[in-house]
């Protein structure tokens, strides 16, 4: 009762403060600092309030780590709750830690995690208790699993909306293109997440673009998630433990992107025994080594993958003018962790991946070398101040770069050579604290800081004996945020997740910009660390669940998000050449607000989950290239941005069967997107830029109807089958409505309204079968064979269309619309996976 009153009082205070702060937040640095002070003040009140309520009663804390029994891997998002009242409970955090404070007494606690056997324990809480739990996998069974009292009702019970957590084991059971298990492609099968077909690694969440998704690998930002223009994702499934996607209502600890967050955790490495996993497939092979270094204290994991399809074709390529041409990609993941004491753990993890394309035309003496890829490093320190106060401090480095080197050489004489470079590099420090004062409250608060170095492009070239000065356009920026989040039960029926994030961004010098306004070509120059432009803002987030009964609930959420870094792509797909730029004196931060409401229902003792969610998003300051944009080296790309605003709305329907021989899900999404670039948000470097004369248009990934079906069937111990079916509405394109001639003899095209026509819906069926010859073998070499068929009925889905122009005679012109299908045939593949 006291708690509830305090909560209520606190809520009122907090909301008053939020609305107060929101009116103050007008992207002004000074107000921002004042606001941050207010938040700090609130934080203090909050901690004080919780302590008051604690002193009043005799309470003890049970806390510990939840791990996998066979590997010692920590379990993320596992449930710990009282068997007497399952509304009293907690969830393990990203590091497998949980903490629950209860009145003194004897309890039965249940621990459950999807895919694992649920466990019950009797505990006597007469003092603070450290209680670590190991769960074991349910294992393959041909029997229908009997579900008893397991806490698999988070779909209904949790206040989170638009959030999907997926274990890699689930992902591995589904068919994969060329046998390459792909996390991003599987996420695209979820409602609210659209794929626009193969050859596009970007995913589109609730009408947002790929540049509005934050992809984190062990907390480090991955700026480009795709290999080979997105055919494959950079995440090697063997090294990944868990993925969580927030489509909306994201917790306050996340920020910096307005559409979604994909949080990916790498495995820590088997703590109990040395293990080798690997796979040999048609286009690539993988190998993962993991094991303990100091038993129970230190473990490691190293995982690598490399493709070789063009290596195999080298003998053929060697006979042509293209001798020396090759393409491959590889990924390397490594992680080591050490437990210093009960209170301190250290994790060091890293990822390094590259696509490498070499092109040679020997007759022309022309060569190109194009490597690109990501590198990330995370050093994380877990510290337990008390059994209720868990801190994680992370030092991060991440880098994405694209290089393009080449030239024309004639013997010794180097006639023309160039080197282009673009990329983004971040150094970050963040500290996050989990505070579990009572089972009804879970606080999280923290501070993040990032120093960004953007390199939209550096161009070096030499022609004959002339060296050109490199045209550099580096940008530097500080990004910082503090946040506070409280998840609490207001009443038995109402659960609230409420958070506030204050974010700040500042571009600093050195920075030169050519001022193109009013015909002047003067250079505007900023010195080292001199502020160029500052922005800030408050991002309140709230999710509320109202429980209708034990198996159904209604949830609502509102989340405001700011995005200070921008990527604009001129193409329909995500390209390695796409560059990130900071908010600056030209580019304002993108802001988004998303409202969602949903109904959640579980059936048959939580074996079936169903949900309907409706969402509406308003977005501001989105950037896109103006109609007449032509990419040019050395230019400030921001000068070509038009700014606009837009909205997206839709409905998601989801039905999922969790257990049994036959499981899987079915999703349907209706989405509508609309953007307007009418010049009302001016580009100071280039006023009057509009798109489509300021009329509303749909995005090029607008596919109103989207259906995904993913199914899994365990026939017996040896055979498991998977199937995927996807459907998406017709692809939008910009129609040619006319042509014209000029003195060049090659016709030009007059386009109609942007993305105003549509062609050919997308659908595809994939199958897979996994064969385990000796399912009961637990020692020695364990093999499985995966057979996949992609695009079973050879649907010619369109990747893009273009208009071929020609003047076949002096007296005529001809325009031919051409469609390109990247995978017009069935692609079978086989992969041998092994483990010992």
């Amino acid at each position: 009762m006291i708690n509830n009153t305090l909560n209520l009082w606190f809520s009122v205070l907090f909301f008053n403060q939020i609305s107060d702060l929101c009116t103050l937040a007008n992207f002004n640095t000074i107000t921002m600092h004042i606001n941050l002070r207010k938040i700090q003040f609130l934080l203090l009140i909050l901690v004080a309030l919780s302590s008051i309520s604690l002193v009043a009663q005799q309470k003890y804390t049970v806390s510990g780590y939840l791990t996998d029994e066979s590997s010692g891997e920590t379990l993320i998002g596992a449930y710990v709750y009282l068997s007497s009242d399952n509304s009293i409970g907690t969830v393990s955090n990203l590091y497998g830690f949980y903490s629950m404070t209860l009145d003194a007494g004897t309890y039965t606690i249940n621990v459950s995690y999807v895919g694992y056997k649920s466990m019950s324990y009797e505990i006597d809480l007469s003092e603070n208790l450290e209680f670590n739990v190991e769960l074991s996998l349910e294992g393959i069974t041909t029997e229908e699993i009997v579900v008893t009292d397991t806490r698999t009702d988070e779909n209904v019970n949790d206040a989170k909306m638009g959030t999907v957590q997926m274990s890699v084991e689930k992902i591995k059971a589904l068919p994969a293109f060329m046998g390459e298990v792909d996390i991003l492609k599987t996420l695209q099968l979820l409602p609210g997440v659209q794929s626009v077909g193969e050859g596009n690694g970007g995913f589109y969440v609730r009408g947002g673009g790929p540049n509005q998704n934050l992809i984190l690998l062990d907390d480090a930002t991955v700026y480009n998630g795709g290999h080979l223009f997105g055919f494959f994702s950079v995440f090697n499934a063997d090294a990944i433990k868990n993925t969580t996607l927030y489509k909306g209502g994201m917790p306050a600890e996340y920020g910096g992107r307005i559409s979604s967050v994909l949080d990916i955790s790498m495995k820590e490495g088997n703590k109990k025994k040395f293990q080798v996993d690997g796979g040999i497939g048609l286009i690539s092979s993988r190998l993962t080594l993991q094991g303990p270094i100091l038993k129970g204290k230190t473990s490691f994991l190293v995982s690598g993958r490399r493709t070789y399809i063009l290596d195999l074709m080298q003998p053929y390529i060697d006979k042509t003018d293209l001798k020396g041409t090759n393409y491959y990609f590889y990924d390397l993941n490594a992680k080591i962790n050490h437990t210093f004491s009960k209170k301190d753990r250290l994790y060091l993890s890293g990822y390094f991946g590259r696509d490498v394309f070499s092109f040679k035309s020997n007759d022309r003496g022309f060569n190109l070398e194009i490597p690109w890829g990501n590198a990330t490093t995370s050093l994380r320190w877990n510290h337990l101040f008390t059994d209720k106060l868990f801190m994680n401090t992370t030092l991060l480095f991440n880098d994405y770069n694209f290089e393009f080197t080449g030239g024309q050489n004639e013997g010794e004489q180097n006639e023309f050579s160039f080197n282009l470079y673009s990329g983004i590099r971040d150094f970050s420090l963040k500290s996050d604290i989990d505070f579990y004062p009572t089972p009804k409250h879970k606080f999280k608060f923290g501070a993040h800081y990032t120093y960004h170095i953007f390199t939209p492009s550096i161009t070096n070239f030499t022609s004959g004996d002339t060296d050109f000065e490199p045209v550099e356009s580096k940008r530097y920026a500080h990004e910082a945020a503090i946040y506070l989040q409280d998840n609490f039960d207001l009443t038995d029926k109402i659960k609230v997740e409420m958070g506030l994030r204050g974010s700040f961004f500042q571009q600093v010098g050195p920075y030169d910009r050519i001022d193109k306004s009013e015909g002047s070509l003067d250079t505007i120059r900023y010195e080292n660390l001199e502020p160029v432009k500052s922005y800030g803002g408050l991002e309140p987030r709230i999710n509320v669940r109202y429980k209708l009964d034990n198996s159904s609930s209604i949830k609502a959420s509102v989340a405001k998000t700011n995005q200070y870094v921008h990527l604009v792509s001129s193409s329909a797909s995500t390209l390695p050449t796409d560059v990130w730029v900071p908010s600056s004196d030209i580019v304002r931060p993108q802001t988004g607000i998303q409202y969602a409401i949903g109904y959640f229902k579980n059936f048959k003792e939580n074996n079936y989950e169903g949900s309907v969610e409706l969402f509406y998003r308003d977005i501001n300051n989105i950037a896109d290239y103006a109609d007449d944009y032509v990419p040019e080296l050395g230019e400030n790309i921001e000068d070509n941005f038009a700014f606009g605003y837009g909205k997206a709305y839709g409905a998601e329907f989801f039905l999922k069967k969790n257990f049994g021989k036959f499981n899987g899900w079915l999703g349907y999404t209706y989405t509508k997107t609309e953007n307007i670039f009418d010049g009302s948000l001016e580009n100071v470097a280039n006023p009057d830029l509009t798109i489509d004369n300021g009329e509303a248009f749909v995005t090029n990934y607008d596919r109103p109807h989207d259906v995904s079906v993913a199914l899994n069937y365990q026939l017996n111990e040896k055979w498991q089958f998977g199937g995927i079916f996807v459907y998406a509405s017709d692809k939008p394109y910009t129609p040619a409505i006319g042509t014209f001639t000029n003195s060049t003899g090659s016709p030009g095209i007059i386009y109609g309204k942007r993305n105003s026509a549509r062609i050919r819906d997308y659908h595809r069926l994939d199958f897979s079968a996994t064969f385990t010859p000796k399912p009961n073998k637990t020692k020695g070499l364990i093999s499985t064979f995966n057979f996949s068929a992609f695009n079973v009925y050879a649907r010619k889905n369109l990747f893009f269309i273009f208009f071929d122009t020609e003047q076949p005679t002096d007296e005529s012109v001809k325009i031919t619309p051409i469609g390109i299908s990247l995978v017009p045939t069935i692609i079978p593949s086989v992969t041998w996976n092994f483990k010992f």
Binding site: L310, L322, F357, F359, F461, S463, D465, F468, I514, L521, S571, A572, T577, Y625, D627, D628, Y629, V630, P631, E632, L633, G634, E635, T734, P735, A736, I737, G738, T739, F740, T741, N742, S743, T744, G745, S746, P747, G748, I749, I750, Y751, G752, A757, K796, F799, F803, T805, Q807, E811, S812, K814, I815, P817, I818, G819, S821, L822, V823, P824, T825
Partner: protein, 299 residues
Amino acid sequence: MKNIFILYFIAFISIIGFIACEEELDLDLPDTTNQLVVEGWISEGDVPFVYMTKTLPAIGEIRFSEIDSFFVGGAEITVKSEDQTMVLQEYVLDSTVIFYTVSQADLFSGNFFVGEAGKYYDLEINMDEREITGRTKIPNSLPLDSIWYDFRQVGDTDSLARIFVRINDADTLGNFYRFFTQRNDEPEFPGSNSVFDDILINGKSFPSFVERGQNPNDEFDFETFGYFFAGDTVNVRMSAIDEAHYNYWNTYEANAQGGGPFSGITVVDSNLEGEEVIGVWGGYGMQTISTRIIYTDED
């Protein structure tokens, strides 16, 4: 330089995407637009020239003869320099092709002017109660001071020649160029990416390979593309142009590629004012240099 990305990424995708397929689509395209297309120019030392056509439907092959009066006549076209005005005369060739330039009478009487570097020229078209205007400048050109060539061994032949010129960019930023080549008595053709600016080359004097311009409708031969041949007499023209003129050709050349996975679509930037009109009124500085390619076995 700008399209090198696109070119090689297409090469890239064609190697990797060996399974991809291309098909002609049957699209239900909306009704054609009906705009006036104007192209006019005034070169240094030459008289102005203007012609007008109509836009065409974007479906299949369209013969100009199928379009009612494809070339547009009946306009009053005036070109003004800073101190002179000249009314152009309409000429009709083969009773279909219509163009406008200085009248015979003015030519004989000396009542005309030619383009001069550093001057602005205004175009005014009056027709059926509509008015179209444009303004351009002929910028000062800097001399091309040398031209040379070498030979390449391609397949069985060693007589393909590459042409080089030395380009001298002015010290100040904001210069734009368009280049053309001419081979023997063939017409002059612009390069496939014929325009460039000086963001990367500002103030530099440097040697540059010059691609052979060719009729875009001729068969594309990857082996000989861009090269000249032994015995050719080669003319290279490097014209200084103003920014709006550059924008027209720059956007047009991107536009004519028809869009693609890596480039998106580009709408052409017209530098003319008026309703329902696209096109360009451009001034060209004239710098030409020529050479004859003499093949010797010693090479």
